[in-house]
Symmetry: C2
């Protein structure tokens, strides 16, 4: 069946969401059009506001609406302890574990020269500045166990070499080759407690 | 973890979609913010356009962007044969079956006095006008097998009584108490071929 252009456009647009194929997208479009146009309008506004208003924290590169994110602004957290992760979703997973009370540094990617991802593209120059400035006493590497995650961890380790910064790496319980965001909170909490100096 | 207001607003807004709970909503919001802001902006535009621009066909009440929907405008379809369904999603399911070449009448609901859904609320006055005007030679009832669906079918049967309109009802293959939109195309095609006069 051929949908009218606006309906088809909405169905196509929904497929940009993770895990949403043409059939789910169609159900979403029909559901809103039939039963919840107000919700659809509200979702449009929330999308526009977030896509335009959510920027990066100037210190940790996580999502932020102001210059600094809520975690970097939180004086009850140890701002000298820095956990390095690949993505904001990883921050979320670790926060859910409830184990960690330091701050983060979010790479928004991993070292992958073949894809044009060098140290600058993932903010490692910025992390180096923070190390040189003496702002960081401990780094916890949580960049994952993929080839790129290992390469990224190795690069940071070299960077820290010769400074007073302690480096450890979350290890136990993180599945091989997996993304942190799919790991449950208890496993992540365990991995944090079991971290080892490298 | 407390999200920033715009991120939390986006997560909440995503839960208006069918089958999307807080966890999926969070993944959707993070996915767009991390990896596809353009797609997010595009989805916002498609939502706004569709919620504002998709209206009802003046003849069959299905989704339409102009006065008449594509099916009511299609001269290759038998415009005197009318299949009565509850929702646009039912139209879609029947169109996918590829069996039916008439047009539709979409109730956008079912008779349910307790919920304030009387004959006028589901457009039965409009259907009656079309019957009285002699525009309809055959009605196929596909209002489903729920109590409300049965009540709706019964009401239409009474309405047609004493006119020359033939009435049949799709029967075989439609599961009891189920929504048409979840029925596969082959089953629906079978149900159409097996329709019986009532
Ligand atoms: Zn921050
Ligand atoms: Zn129509």
């Amino acid at each position: 069946m051929k949908h009218s252009p606006l309906v088809q456009g909405l169905i196509d647009a929904f497929t940009c969401l993770p895990g949403v194929g043409p059939r789910s997208a169609q159900r979403m479009a029909y559901h809103l059009l039939e039963r919840n146009r107000e919700g659809g309008g509200h979702l449009a506004e929330a999308l526009t506001s977030a896509m335009e208003g959510v920027r990066q924290c100037s210190r940790c590169r996580n999502f932020a609406e102001r210059d600094l994110c809520p975690i970097c602004l939180d004086s009850r957290r140890d701002q000298s302890q820095v956990c390095v992760v690949s993505s904001p979703a990883d921050v979320l997973a670790i926060e859910h574990s409830g184990e960690y009370r330091g701050r983060y540094f979010v790479l928004l990617g991993q070292l992958s020269p073949i894809d044009g991802m060098g140290p600058r593209q993932i903010g490692l120059d910025q992390l180096e500045q923070q190390i040189q400035a003496g702002d960081i006493s401990e780094i916890i590497l949580a960049t994952g166990t993929t080839v790129e995650g290992e390469a990224t961890a190795h690069y940071i380790l070299e960077m820290v070499h010769g400074t007073a910064v302690t480096v450890s790496r979350i290890a136990q319980g993180v599945p091989m080759g997996g993304d942190l965001e799919f790991v449950d909170g208890a496993t992540l909490a365990h991995a944090f407690r079991g971290r080892r100096p490298v």
